[in-house]
Amino acid sequence: MNQTVRPERRVLAQRVTLAHGGGGKAMRDLIEDVFTSVFAPPGMEDQARLMDASLLEPGAELAFTTDSFVVSPMEFPGGDIGTISVCGTVNDLAVGGARPLWLSAAFIIEEGVEITTLRQIAASMQKSALEAGVRIVTGDTKVVGKGSGDGVFVTTAGIGVIPPGRRMLAESVRPGDIALVSGVLGDHGAAILAARGDMDLTSDIRSDCQPLNHLIEAVLTAVPDIRAARDATRGGLASALNEVAYAAGVGIEITEADLPLRQEVRGICEILGLDPLYLANEGTLVLFVPPDQAVSALAAMKSVPAGRGARVIGKAVTAHPGTVIMKTVLGGARIVDMLVGEQLPRIC
């Protein structure tokens, strides 16, 4: 890549002021010093100009997605808003079967945010981008007055290419298909809850925030006809399964005893009266594969670090289309519904 040699511009201010969003020199310095020197986008133009050989394959499709990130606190055990803003968008592309290639990054920064915070966010983004094998190629910054934001909001959009012949859609799931998850559930949600510090809970739980594209590619090599993949983010496993049940018009049955949950996560949920099925994940994959390929899919998942904790959790069925049912540890059954609103800690 030919980066023009430019005089080094250092941002000397400690905190972001409205001047950093004013369109002048301060803004240019901020962008160059804090963001583009880290992301190294191609060229000097405002828009990125992109080419990749995979685009030229007959039958290849472009995949395009966007997501905004407003997590509080911005930093938590296992990552920060920068990590999830890259992983989230990479994973949105990957679960559709796309190979993620390029990302944009737009920042809404509240006046008063420390420059070091921005540097850390940019470094985390670049680290996750390298891990996922994507490049951050264009972006934007805006500064809003104190009280008009909450620290930093990040919006990323991502472009990827779906190779010819790949068809991973929730609607493709059929009765009999086996459901797998790539690892323990609820770590991200529990880590954020603990990191908010409202409850004086100390825990070792770390967010599971990670790119899933390599994991998905590894499984696709072993099981080319993955029916569907979902990234169990907001709303947790329950929402991901309900989306699939609804889109495919199948019922889904899962078994409580087979769900991988960390002791600490269960503990936090018990204390606060939350259901771990609804806790957010940022690096947990839910896969549906044809029944005869479940064993190879499980082995392929376990062969990659991100899938080491993989488990079969249930299957798609003909009965009760659109509804997810869980066999409880005691042998009873209950509906696992979509989350209504947000989970609120209970009183007693």
Binding site: L330, R346, C348
Partner: protein, 379 residues
């Protein structure tokens, strides 16, 4: 997980379930002539549905879901009054999370917050007191609600605020007690209950003696129970055995946590800070004598009803519930949640009409979310 998995052991559960089935048979109860056991506490209701226990117990046994969910029995008038305080200038209203969605006549606290009121969720009363310390220019009010489980911590917070002379802090007190509504239910001529499962954590505070009247005066068995599925099943079995043997006693299944006499420190703090109100309104049940607590005059400086001149004692209050809402009939065991014409139609967890649909511990919400009629339809 330590200290919970033991109480979720499927093998042990099967043993207790078999015993339950046997005793129900011995009593001669059937699907058409079932026994009605009320689990008083919303936590138990939640556990029943979360573990699908209602599907595992024999058809001759029916659970009636009691009034023990503090959010569910909160009347609209109290939400209205809370919103009224929250919308006054310079006020920070603090509350436990699950009260946010309870519908008021005008709006819920969630809506009031969206409309600009400064309403914040806290995890404990002391967090609210801390907020008052950090915001000396604001009036910080805590929306105190709950049964004997949360009542002592509010009392201790008031005592702390009193000691600190924290003059910008007050409690909008909606604390209620478990025994009076049970008495009201037992006095109801339509009452069909054969026995009770009592809330263990309430007895952790008050002990088991306050339930003596149930056995002595009404000749009904009650077993104070823990919250794990095995606790619950074992307690149900103990109630059934009492019925079979013609006994009516107060028994303590949760003895590993609950001393018969309760917690004297908590009881003393509550007696110091509160006195019973002549009566208090319950959603669906109406006014019940001596069922609510008010803050004693000695601590009136921390009583939001006094400070903001609102609530009981300020003249006529509008009471009553939404048209078509039958929460009261559900709570008294007259109808099952799905027999309410609004269930799942005009009243869903997204847009609750009645409070039983609001909290995850409300019978209607548990029924709607975890199964009940919908589960039967798909099975």
């Amino acid at each position: 997980m330590n200290y919970t998995d033991e109480f979720r052991d499927p093998v042990a559960a099967r043993g207790v379930l078999a015993a339950i089935e046997r005793v129900v048979d011995e009593i001669g109860a059937t699907k058409d002539k079932p026994l009605h056991i009320m689990e008083i506490c919303g936590g138990h209701t939640h556990a029943i549905f979360r573990y699908g226990l209602d599907k595992l117990t024999p058809p001759g046994l029916e659970f009636i879901h009691g009034p023990g969910c503090p959010v569910c029995v909160l009347p609209m008038s109290r939400i209205d009054e809370c919103v009224d305080i929250a919308e006054r200038p310079n006020v920070i209203m603090t509350t436990f999370g699950d009260a946010m969605r309870v519908p008021g006549r005008r709006k819920s606290m969630m809506q009031a917050k969206a409309d600009g009121a400064d309403i914040r969720m806290v995890y404990s009363q002391l967090d609210a007191l801390e907020l008052a310390r950090r915001n000396p220019g604001k009036e910080v009010v805590f929306f105190g609600l709950g049964f004997e489980t949360t009542t002592p911590s509010t009392a201790l917070t008031i005592l702390q605020a009193h000691a600190d002379r924290q003059s910008n802090f007050s409690i909008f007190c909606n604390h209620i007690t478990v025994p009076p509504p049970i008495k009201a239910l037992l006095d109801d001529p339509y009452m069909v209950l054969d026995g009770f499962v009592g809330p263990g954590h309430v007895s952790m505070v008050i002990g088991i003696r306050p339930y003596d009247f149930i056995a002595r005066d009404y000749k009904k068995p009650i077993v104070v129970a823990g919250f794990e599925p095995l606790d619950l099943l074992q307690s149900v079995l103990m109630v059934l055995e009492q019925i079979r043997d013609g006994r009516a006693e107060v028994e303590n299944q949760y003895a590993r946590v609950v001393p018969d006499e309760g917690n004297p420190v908590s009881i003393a703090a509550c007696n110091e800070v509160y006195q019973p109100r002549p009566s208090f309104e319950w959603r669906g049940l109406g006014e019940i004598d001596a069922s609510g607590l008010r803050i004693r005059d000695k601590y009136a400086a921390f009583d939001a009803e006094v400070k903001f001149e609102i609530g009981y004692g300020t003249g006529p209050r509008f009471t009553g519930e939404q048209d078509g809402c039958r929460c009261g009939d559900v709570m008294t065991g007259r109808i099952k949640p799905h027999a309410c014409p609004q269930f799942g139609k005009g009243c869903t967890p997204e847009m609750p009409l009645g409070a039983l649909m609001v909290s995850s511990e409300g019978a209607c919400a548990a029924y709607y979310q975890y199964g009940g009629l919908r589960l039967e339809a798909v099975e």
